[in-house]
Symmetry: C2
Subunit: 524 residues, 2 copies
């Protein structure tokens, strides 16, 4: 996978889907909560009684619907209420409003405040579109399933739990998990939109294997990473130059250089941390830089010449960041809260300064499916119209590179998640504007053209997803954004797999960039 956008987009659309899908179904909120008063005051019952009557008529109403306080009692400084609602004006929102308004009333009339509102028990029942296929769990609640009816029972929790919108997110998570059960194992939708003419490959060898035999590449000291000796490094750097000089610079993209560390908070905003936490390499800082704190560790290293694992554990912190997975999150972060001037739109940036790391398990192969790789990522921000034009022009430039410089046999495909198609929710136009296009190349070493092709890059337009997440604005209109990730190792593999490793046989467009390989150092 070159970029995570296909996945992210999928998740975003999924959320939209849920929003829509859950609308027609019933929802019941049954909250038992307690208000902790500042004193055990007597004689306030009437005030409460009147408040409850009023609240049921107006404060808790949302149009015709809304929450109702169905019962209450006061013992000492504890006021307990049961609040029942449907989808609108939900009980937990009601409880927060009651705290505010009743607190103010009690303050004025009896000089009593409400210290806190707590959940005693909260039972939420809702229907889902499709019956769960297996057990489903969620933090903070027990879950009961009866056909398409799902009940979530939350035990004691403090005020923060009510305020921080945990409950709405829990409902959403539960809906998503049940929905996901129905799509497990289903593939992404894939639709060919264009393919080049067939081209006769120079050979049918696996370039990674051949380069390894020649010593051009060496498997790195840790899994899924490679060391590129001069001939291989020269080819990879040439791919970078072609991407920059033939695609990005002509379109007016400007280079930025970003930190390699991505804070986990940034990945919360982009959705990566919930999307793929098992695919990151995490970064841990030392607890201290002070040599004294490391003395025992250092002594052990010197004496045993091994890594003292337990000492290391004591001396490093829990990760707060991870290694760059894709470059766009830090680019978006760099624009957080900014309003971009009209004249700077569309804003066209790219980074090629940090390697990308993805923790892979199975499926690694050669330099094309790895844990660490080099990509150029372009990010574009502008109005919808501007982005659609950027996308067209990017596609033209990529086509120019693949047709005239690398002379590849390649194709483009629109990728859309399976269930969106099934549900028929995304409209034709919408799908054309947002979404991801994958660029793929044929790998002759894998066999005929019917075999799986290699994704070598993509273009995505993600609408307002990231501009909203990072509060990036323009003066007037809403701004969209998109990214295009160019996998340099992927370009290299596709090229070598079709054109071979002998510069004489390379296409003339490529030879203008690299006509001769640096000599390999000789080892005995």
């Amino acid at each position: 996978m070159i970029s995570s956008h296909a996945y992210l987009l999928q998740r975003e659309q999924w959320k939209d889907l849920n929003k829509v899908a859950s609308m027609p179904f019933t929802m019941e909120f049954d909250l038992k909560c307690t208000f902790i008063l500042s004193a055990e005051a007597e004689g306030i019952e009437n005030t409460i009684k009147e408040f409850v009557e009023d609240a049921n008529k107006s404060l808790l109403k949302k149009g015709e619907e809304g929450a109702q306080i169905t019962s209450w009692k006061k013992e000492g400084n504890i006021l307990e209420m049961r609040i029942i609602s449907g989808r609108k004006g939900r009980s937990h929102e009601g409880a927060i409003r009651i705290k505010k308004h009743l607190g103010s009333l009690l303050g004025k009339k009896h000089r009593i405040g409400i210290r806190e509102v707590r959940i005693k028990e909260y039972i939420i029942t809702f229907d889902v579109e499709k019956e769960p296929l297996k057990d489903v769990t969620i933090p903070f609640a027990a879950v009961y399933v009866d056909g398409k009816k799902v009940t979530m029972k939350i035990g004691e929790q403090g005020e923060e739990f009510l305020r921080e919108n945990y409950i709405d997110r829990m409902i959403k998570v539960l809906q998503e998990k049940i929905q996901a059960q129905h799509y497990e194992g289903k593939k992404e939708y894939w639709e060919l939109i264009w393919k080049s003419e067939e081209k006769k490959p120079v050979w049918d060898k696996d370039p990674s294997e051949e380069m390894q035999k020649k010593g051009w590449v060496v498997p790195g000291p840790t899994k899924g990473k490679w060391f590129y000796r001069p001939p291989a490094a020269a080819i990879l750097r040439t791919m970078e130059r072609i991407a920059v000089e033939e695609v990005l610079i002509p379109l007016g993209f400007q280079e930025v250089m970003e930190p390699m560390h991505v804070p986990l908070e940034t990945w919360i905003k982009t959705g990566h941390l919930e999307g793929m936490p098992g695919e990151f390499y995490y970064i841990s800082e030392p607890v201290s830089r002070d040599a004294k704190e490391w003395e025992h560790f250092i002594d052990l290293v010197k004496i045993t010449k091994e890594v003292p694992i337990e000492e290391l554990r004591k001396n490093v912190k829990i990760p707060k960041a991870g290694v760059c997975y894709a470059q766009c999150p830090n680019i978006y972060w760099s624009l957080s809260g900014k309003t971009i001037a009209e004249k700077s739109l569309p804003l066209l940036l790219f980074d090629r300064s940090v390697p990308s790391d993805r923790y892979e398990s199975g499926g690694r192969h050669g330099i094309e499916r790895v844990d660490e790789f080099h990509r150029v990522e372009a990010v574009y921000i502008g109005t919808k119209e501007q982005l659609l034009e950027v996308k067209e022009r990017l596609m033209e430039r990529y086509k120019h590179v693949f047709d005239n410089i690398l002379e590849l046999e390649w194709r483009m495909a629109r990728v859309t998640p399976f269930y969106l198609q099934q549900a028929g929710i995304v409209e034709e136009n919408e799908e054309d504007e947002k979404g991801t296009i994958d660029f793929e190349a044929w790998l002759p070493y894998k066999g005929g053209r019917e075999k799986e092709w290699l994704e070598i890059q993509n273009i995505s337009i993600v609408g307002e997803k990231y501009t909203k997440a990072f509060t990036i604005k323009s003066q007037k209109k809403e701004v969209w954004s998109g990214c295009s990730g160019i996998g340099l190792e992927r370009w290299m593999v596709a090229f070598l797999a079709q054109k071979g490793m002998e510069p004489e046989k390379w296409p003339s467009g490529f030879k203008k960039y690299l006509s001769e390989l640096p000599e390999m150092p000789e080892f005995l």
Copy 2:
């Protein structure tokens, strides 16, 4: 600090120093050890008695000196011995030899084997050159100090402890620690070897501050890292081009691309792990990539929109690697065990593909003292004569860049650790051949020329230190190695501090590379 070589060299020379320094002093090894026999055989006492007499005469001798078994007793299947020695043929080596030879003898004569030899108690006494100034501790032993006499008492330990050379390393560590007490707070030796003429600076502003005001650089989301917007990225990339095109390519250096992860084992070989473990950013892999294992973590992220620290702790492994600190360790690693053909010597390689991370505490400033930076590192391997020539030619090319392209006011200094000078141990020649040269530039914003200058890069020759550590050989002669680290941010700061931020005022040599800055995006 641009490179860690000054420090590493220091440590290496220190070890040499200790070797020399400890020679004239006495050392006593008093080992009580137990040999575990395979059976409680009776009637083997005479065999043992004869063996001990023989061993004391020959097996344990080293020339005139050697170890002596001063007493022994056998109870059940336990044979206990006390072995005393001086510096030569030390007791712990003797114990291993006894196990082998006595084991073989008992096998032949009595069909009994020796299962293991264990330390019961091991007391080692030695003189140090200078009296310890304060308490000193070491793992695996209690330490007693009486003037210049140091005693180390080791309790029960198994055979591995004897075999793995822990004891010799413990003595060395203890000697180093005591020696270090005398040099704490002392500075590195610094000797000016050349300086350019004075040059009138364009201004006296701090470039990092000015760039921050203009928005060219943005402090990163985690400490000590920066985001470079287009104008700043263009300048940094230009420094890279100048380093590559004006220094490295003309001298025949070839580009490689290395993994960003450095295994802790590699840093054991280079000495970094014992030298500066508090300065690394460590990398932790996920325990699993399986989404099922991360389900609870993911649910919590979705519901709370915070990082679930305890879940994260459970789901990441203890670090096995760190982020690149300097590029050379992975380059040396890539050549491990290789014999380089004569025709490929000197081998001249460079990497510019990975950022370098150093965990800093205080003393960060602007883009010049940071936690993450970009450097080009050149590594050269060859005969001593070849390397001395490489060094000369590198110095010429650097001089060309600083004089004719950046037009800096700069100087070169030889840096050697203080105590080596004091001790008068390193000979004049030796010092000229090995060692580190720092290149420094004046920062007008700091004040007059008497203030601290900025180290912008260095050249080191480290002799056989790394080629031995990684078993890198040539066909005939011993090979030396060296490295030169070019700090691109440092070049940039030195240049901007002296030449300002307006391209019109830049020297013509630099303008050939960059005469105009990319436009800054405009924010409101």
